[in-house]
Amino acid sequence: MAPVRGDGMRGLAVFISDIRNCKSKEAEVKRINKELANIRSKFKGDKTLDGYQKKKYVCKLLFIFLLGHDIDFGHMEAVNLLSSNKYSEKQIGYLFISVLVNTNSDLIRLIIQSIKNDLQSRNPVHVNLALQCIANIGSRDMAESFSNEIPKLLVSGDTMDVVKQSAALCLLRLFRSSPDIIPGGEWTSRIIHLLNDQHMGVVTAATSLIDALVKRNPDEYKGCVNLAVSRLSRIVTASYTDLQDYTYYFVPAPWLSVKLLRLLQNYNPVTEEPGVRARLNETLETILNKAQEPPKSKKVQHSNAKNAVLFEAINLIIHSDSEPNLLVRACNQLGQFLSNRETNLRYLALESMCHLATSEFSHEEVKKHQEVVILSMKMEKDVSVRQMAVDLLYAMCDRSNAEEIVQEMLNYLETADYSIREEMVLKVAILAEKYATDFTWYVDVILNLIRIAGDYVSEEVWYRVIQIVINREEVQGYAAKTVFEALQAPACHENMVKVGGYILGEFGNLIAGDSRSAPLVQFKLLHSKYHLCSPMTRALLLSTYIKFINLFPEIRTNIQEVFRQHSNLRSADAELQQRASEYLQLSIVASTDVLATVLEEMPSFPERESSILAVLKKKKPGRVPENEIRESKSPAPAAVQNNTHAATNHKVNSNANADLLGLSTPPANNAVNNSSGTLIDVLGDIYGSANNNTAIYNTKKFLFKNNGVLFENEMLQIGVKSEFRQNLGRLGLFYGNKTQIPLTNFTPVLQWEPENALKLNVQMKPVEPTLEAGAQIQQLLTAECIEDYADSPTIEVNFRYNGVQQKFSIKLPLTINKFFEPTEMNADSFFARWKNLSGEQQRAQKVFKAQQPLDLPGARNKLMGFGMQLLDNVDPNPDNMVCAGIIHTQSQQVGCLLRLEPNKQAQMFRLTIRASKESVTREICDILTDQF
């Protein structure tokens, strides 16, 4: 038996020993039940128990409870102990109450009375016991009963320091359950001045309380900033002997320092006063300097305490996000920690760097450590550190390093721990989408994800790749080709079958020209997977098959055969059976036209919802993963609030950090809405082409088509329909309010330089100034081409949303090519004209890199939408594309020829334009460059 101190209870020690000697769980339960019976009989017995006995039995009950057994009696005896005049009995009574009494117990009134008595005691030990009990229970009852006493105790001059400390934290505990307990007025300043108290223990306790009060009412407690800064400065510059017992392993008052640094993080900016600000920066620098000094002790406690202060200082620096010099220094310091031998430090450095990566001042600095972080992801022994490295890579990713980081994450994914795979998949998917400059890369990444970690690819991820492929014409052919190849693997993941089935059903025709992926081959390939798949995937494949009937009438009988097989009992699943029968009937009954209408290509998805980010956030409650750079201290609310592409793009131009800034973090109150908004912006960015200097949205797509969604964010959608004849055009703009409240002062303004207006005359009908919630209005524009022009007009849409002025500039799809009339001609006449147009001013030529990979069918599709006639069998090289057309202007007609020559080896295109007018030659050449 272990030695027991003088005040120990022998009976208790014996009982504990008995329990420890029990050989089995059953024996233990038996011993406990025996003891419970004994105690119960003592409590119920006729013999009155003295204080010591009560204390002993209550203590035994407590021990039994702590072993994990339920205790349903003894509370009354414990409450009796509270009023004992023996301290040791009182103390056990309080302990039992703190551990075992739940807040709504009937006994609470009795307890409160005892506490009241002890609070009156002249002995601080009793008072503290009472305060600790209040804090341990911390209920509303407690707050109501002591809302007078405790605040008084805290600021009264007579109160001893040890009691003040307890009172401060006791009050804090009550404040958390009942915020109204805190008096205001004069009391506030007395509380704040506790920061100046002589006693370090009092300051430490008070700082915790003040921190909570500030969070609730920052203005009222603003005075604490100056006091906190000067207190902190004094501590940091103190020698470790100054603070005596408040120095912890040679670090002066680490707890108080950290609390003060936290307190200051409640304000942003921390202070408006230059003097205070200077002193704070000096203090922060001192902390950074000290980190570089040789350690005063080899003990881990020394390094922990010192670095605890350092990390908190860095948190404050990140929070203020206004001192580039400090941010860069912080980053360098953390960089050193990345290769420290303490796992804890490496972990914290990675975590802290995640935040630095989101500051525009230190983002670039963080990127310098990319290699070490990648190594951490691969080599760390502890999965939580590896996970933190993944988080940091995610946070530091931007357009410049996205390909490398995504590739490294993909490589690592093959061997990554199962516990972090799903999250990594989400992160890779988000980064690939956000930073894709070339959507074929995006498609490759997602298909790789499915290949490597198919089981961890959630529905949101594969839905998303399909949405994106459907919305982006330029990638459809490539996607079809790639999924087709991926499906040829002998074992491919079911998610791959889903994506493959869907994409081939929509775009299988784009690769059907190649005999290796002829319709029947595609169909057989998909159907070879059918039997290995779940019913849901089978259902999807059946839909693909019916779409094939529309795309490839030649394999109709093969498909009907499959439908026939599955429309009967062979399909145990009712849904599949029904699908098969209905599709079969549809393919038999419907005419080609009807079939084509029913099975028309999927319309574009609205460009907003990437639900992947939401899934990621759900996976990490409390800590939202970030891959967004904060705008440092932007005072203009409008700019921060409408996190839209157009608005931010203006900023981008004036800033070297271009695309980084464009992705500013939305304010917390509408973070949820905007989180998806950020993703749209990025997509918009891609169409708007990152290096274009004007704020445009999706306009390039409209070079090749006349109708579609021109602009969309979380407030507004603008659709366009247009038609052109000769030199005249008519545009309908459809403004849709997506919000729940009206958009007011709604005014679209045309922006088209006067000298341009002489060449292209655009008239716009005014619209109603209010766009009701959920409503759509139409605006008609007419355009008349008088002579040829460059570029295209912009409309600036202004309105107020929820009191905030909004402004977007959107390019109209009114480029010169809209006035083309296609011209059919044979090879002879084409080349005759070609030779005629050989003057210096009549020719323009550009060589540019193809979008990866080179997509010839895609290029043909685009040219067909461009407005000229695509002429087959003219160029002897079948890969080359030639076109002819006439541009109609009021003053003249301009004949125009085009030749687009791909160089598959170099992955380049050479574009040649010949036209009878120099300015047209140049403009057509310019607008088509880089489009294929």
Binding site: F15, Q91, V162, L169, G201, S208, W255, A305, T343
Partner: protein, 157 residues
């Protein structure tokens, strides 16, 4: 703010639990079970911090005992390690080379010492000297009392 502190042995036996938030008993048991399993499965050189639910776990092993604290997202992990260390130092000073048995047989003392160090999940007194002084003055009050029950205990279980 610290949300709770658990002390448990290498065998997974809970030796002390202190909750600074009101959780139902069922939840307490569930949390304890989960954390004990998670932490016992970790290897010695691993990081002392884990993300867990919406809070952070800081733990450290001293001989046969694990000390495990849950803190909020914004709290300082390194300093929480030092709160644990300070508590261990106090126990050590009080019991004189503390061991697991001391805490088992004198669990109430372990609670009293903890209450002097932390109130409502916040550190109250960081000075070792001052905490020990407070505990000493408690003991002083007790020494005035005569151990009258000593004889009664014989013959009782």
């Amino acid at each position: 703010m610290m949300l709770f502190m658990l002390l448990f042995s290498r065998q997974g036996k809970l030796r002390l639990q202190k909750w600074y938030n009101a959780y139902p008993d069922k939840v307490k048991k569930k949390i304890t079970r989960e954390l004990v399993t998670t932490i016992l499965a970790r290897k010695p050189k691993m990081c002392s911090f884990l993300e867990w639910k919406d809070c952070k776990i800081v733990y450290k092993r001293y001989a046969s005992l694990y000390f495990c604290c849950a803190i909020e997202q914004n709290d300082n992990e390194l300093l929480t390690l030092e709160i644990i260390h300070r508590y261990v130092e106090l126990l050590d000073k009080y019991f004189g080379s503390v061991c697991e048995l001391d805490i088992i047989f004198n669990f109430e003392k372990a609670y009293f010492i903890l209450d002097e160090l932390l109130i409502g999940g916040e550190i109250q007194e960081t000075s070792k000297k001052n905490v020990l002084k407070a505990i000493a003055s408690q003991d002083l009050l007790q020494e005035d009392e005569t151990p009258q029950g000593f004889f009664d205990d014989h013959g009782l279980g």
